[in-house]
């Protein structure tokens, strides 16, 4: 990758990574640190990383940095476990996106990460496997569980509609 391509990566991917991390960490300052750390690591290896792989490299680095950060602060819940059984909402919502955003925040870390990589960035199972270090079946299972969780959170269709 050239310096110009590296700069293009900053332009194209910094926002996406920042969104991904800030939604997971719920802390803009720490999310900025993660983004800067990821690009610093890419810069140190920019001559080895090809431009086509740069996005995946950045998300992988950012994801693992974020996980390390969470683990260090001992705020992480057991990965893959649903810690809260959702109940149907009784409030009326006019915007489904609003409910979904709220529901996503209640997902376990790992499920939130995979579903955001899937929906925000359009990664396929294989790419999510490479970023998260999970195997493909695990990725698929977490996505399925997350979808069911969101569905249950939304509750009855009458509530939303």
């Amino acid at each position: 990758m050239t310096v110009a391509e590296y700069n293009l990566c900053v332009e194209q991917h910094a926002d996406g990574i920042f969104r991904f991390i800030v939604k997971n960490l719920k802390d803009e300052h720490r999310a900025q640190d993660v983004v800067q750390d990821s690009f610093t690591k890419l810069w140190l290896r920019y001559s080895e990383v090809s431009f086509s792989k740069a996005k995946s490299y950045l998300f992988t680095t950012a994801y693992h940095t974020m996980i390390d950060m969470i683990r260090k602060e001992k705020n992480i819940t057991e990965l893959g476990e649903i810690t809260q059984i959702p109940t149907s909402r009784t409030e009326q919502y006019s915007d489904l996106k609003e409910i979904l955003d709220e529901a996503v925040q209640k997902l376990p870390e790992i499920q939130r990460s995979v579903i955001m990589l899937r929906d925000y960035e359009g990664y396929n199972y294989k790419e999510i496997e490479e970023i998260t270090g999970l195997n493909e079946n695990q990725v698929k299972v977490y996505i399925y569980r997350a979808r069911k969780f969101l569905m249950n959170y939304i509750g009855s269709m009458e509530t939303v509609l």
């Binding site: 110009a4 926002d15 920042f18 969104r19 690009f39 996106k97 979904l100 929906d119 399925y144 569905m151």
Partner: protein, 362 residues
Amino acid sequence: MKIDRQNYELFAIDFLDGKMTPPETAAFMAFLTENPDIAQEIELLRDIDTEIAPKPESRDFSYLMKNINQAKVTPENFEEHCIAYYEGDLDRKAQDKLFDYIAQDNLHRQKFEMYGKLKITPDKSIVFSGKNQLKHRTILPVNARRIALITSFAAAASLALVFIFKTPQVEQVDMNVAQTNNSNTTKTEIHTTIVSDNAKATAEARNTKIRQTKKDVKNEQKAEAQIELPSNDRQNIRIAAVVDSIQDETIRISLISPKPLENELDLEPNKLAFLRDIPVQSYKSKEKLTPGIEEIKDRTTGLVALASGLTIDDLINSGVKGLNKMVEGNLSYQSKRDGNGKMTEFALSSDAFKYKRKIKNN
């Protein structure tokens, strides 16, 4: 081994599994004939075996299959089918099965549509504000950097020189270039007149004028008196010749340049204004020859450029600034002068490079 009542169980398993050879089967059947109670026991075992191993198709566990494309759509796995559909995991055949199932019940359809709305979308208002801090500039290898800086300096100096002699509209330039003979004091004065109507004049027209002027000068030479030239003026003459060539090039550039060159440079407005007003001097007569050459020499060496205070340093700095703008560099130029205004040292520097040189003045 002979079959008896103590060891018959060893043979019974093979008998029930059909793993005995014909002679072994015949021997075991003979034993059962002699021992009807054991024969009855073996028969019970055969019945139990049949009950323990039900036929696989007796129950439908297809919904537990890993490959959802091969599974039937059931109430238990309907949601998984919906998710699989929106995740793009269902093949055409499985999709048809799902649609058939959905068509059976309106609630199925509503639930299916609801799953289609579960895709989360990024909030585009969240952006990373420190992108510029993450970007890097091109890092050149040391040699390339050195070459780039030397080239930049050369370009800057060239621009500065061009700027010195550039006038927005050249109306008339008369240059006197004297030539000397090595052994005697013969002086030859050449009057060259370059007339350019304006910036639209062509180089060919200029050459025609030059030829005409040279012809006029030759005629004039015959009438003019011979003047003895001091020997130290030879250097001045050579300088004048160089300046002459530079000025020719400057005029050429001004003819082809689509817009004033100073617009591209970062000069202070008052200096820009001054440059436009540089008087074009004529040195037609022999009386003005010496002071004219001195001034040309001053311009060329940058000792004191012109009375307004615009120095060669100003011009080089302008060139350097222009280059920095073009290549996003941070090259800077410094010089030192002695009490007489002569340059004694100059230096070029940037973040990654420093070049300093002292100048010996005679």
